[in-house]
Symmetry: C2
DNA sequence: GTCATCATGTTGTATGATGACCTGACCAGA
DNA sequence: TCTGGTCAGGTCATCATACAACATGATGAC
């Protein structure tokens, strides 16, 4: 799977994407808005004024404006001008992957996920029907199968959690979990991969026992128990993650 | 504070922004990516090919590409081409405000907020120091003052919750709460505004009593109690919201 | 086999022109 | 006084063209 130097060396790593003029302008304007120097609803300088101020072509200015519009920071009206968005509502929630290099930052995201998933487990217990319960059970079996064939079952594990989030009948839970999950999965799998095959199996079996408790509580429709089981599982996950990631500490 | 017809009438409401050619192209390409017809890492057609296919100028294509790049859906490399992002990691979490017209959708967001805030209260109880505890207390007093002068204390209320989120020492809690909060605040305040002055005061005093319980648990460093108090508060909030929003039902 | 060089294709930037649209001022008529 | 119509100027939207910067693969010198 892994080719020669993959990303082991901190030296040969892809460079940061080149900072072209457009992103430069985007950041300048975004900064003005974030700092409040450009208030909500305020009108931006005209395209011509921006080209002259920044000494760039209209192409660059227009691309920057298009980017800011896509981010929901500004709105443009033909024949009138560009304005800082009134409702910054449209501004999305982001997590910068570049900041996720440290263990502490990963744990921060895990904590965020904790609250989300505990609540999801509770709602799932209250609202799951035969179909969604079946899908959660199927995900559980898929993990079993993966463990049996010696796999780390990372994808299957995530699918289990996602099935629970879907059972809440509140689509935001699954969407947010999917969003947060992307920041956690890969690292964990790498670390786990270091262990011996038998160790791995025993390790995964312990996790799977926790999964089964969650599943049982959901099937029983006991939201209180489901929350407790999920909390226990995630707290243990955090401890496990901390231990695994401290291991390679020279 | 509120001008004449504000947003009372569903008739006179700003029109949806006109769909220009750029957004048209953005949606076409975003659709291709979302559907998987353009796989991760796949290369997009060249700008020239796109101009010919869509019958638009290169300006439009480039603005669309800039927008997609801002959303983290694609990456471009000069001299090489544009590619669907490998790590969709950079893709942010969004909630479309246009979908938030129904009560059910607002409750969905409130549920999301519930899990987040309960956990935040727990962590705050564990981690708050003198400074953060003081800030939470100050927020509490600010609500008192607002109630005393007959204000609905919406901003102050939110500031209290935000102070708790900040006390977790995990910046993501506050950021996500801020993000979700934007979707809830305005509507609540409008509804509450309908009540009589004395009713309003009694109503707010009940809420404030719940706040005080949360604060007491955090000051005591009792995370279990803090979670419970926050859960009770948010569950009650949901009930209150449902009742208030059903009121104007002819 | 290694390294420089070059042709080719692609994105990045600049520029000028035209169309579409909004705003405010002015004005005629009720 | 008020309403509605017209017009001029400003601004964004789109188009077209040209050149610069960069990456890639082919070629050839060593």
């Amino acid at each position: 799977m892994s080719s020669l130097g993959d990303d082991a060396s901190p030296l040969l790593r892809p460079l940061a994407p080149p900072r072209n003029r457009t992103t430069e302008v985007v950041e300048r304007l975004a900064g003005e808005i974030a700092s409040g120097r450009l208030a909500r609803g305020a009108r931006l300088p005209t395209e011509q004024a921006l080209t002259e101020a920044f000494r760039v072509s209209r192409t660059v200015v227009r691309e920057a404006v298009a980017a800011l519009r896509a981010e929901g920071l500004i709105e443009t009206r033909q024949g009138v001008g560009a304005f800082v968005a009134q409702d910054i509502q449209r501004r999305p929630f982001r997590i910068d992957p570049d900041e996720l290099q440290t263990i502490g930052e990963v744990v921060n995201v895990m904590e965020l996920r904790t609250g989300l998933e505990i609540e999801a487990a509770g709602f799932a217990a209250e609202r799951a029907d035969a179909g969604t319960r079946g899908r959660i059970g199927a995900a559980l079996k898929a993990i079993d199968a993966a463990i049996k064939r010696g796999d780390a079952a990372v994808d299957e594990d995530f699918a289990f959690h996602l099935a629970i989030a879907r059972a809440t009948r509140n689509p935001h839970f699954a969407r947010l979990l999917e969003f947060l999950g992307r920041f956690l999965i890969p690292r964990q799998s790498v670390r786990i991969g270091l262990k011996k095959a038998d160790d791995l199996k025993a390790y995964l079996e312990r996790i799977q026992a926790e999964h089964r408790q969650i599943f049982a509580a959901i099937v029983a429709g006991n939201s209180e128990a489901a929350r407790k089981a999920m909390r226990r599982h995630l707290m243990n996950s955090r401890t496990r993650y901390r231990m695994l990631s401290q291991r390679p500490k020279r």
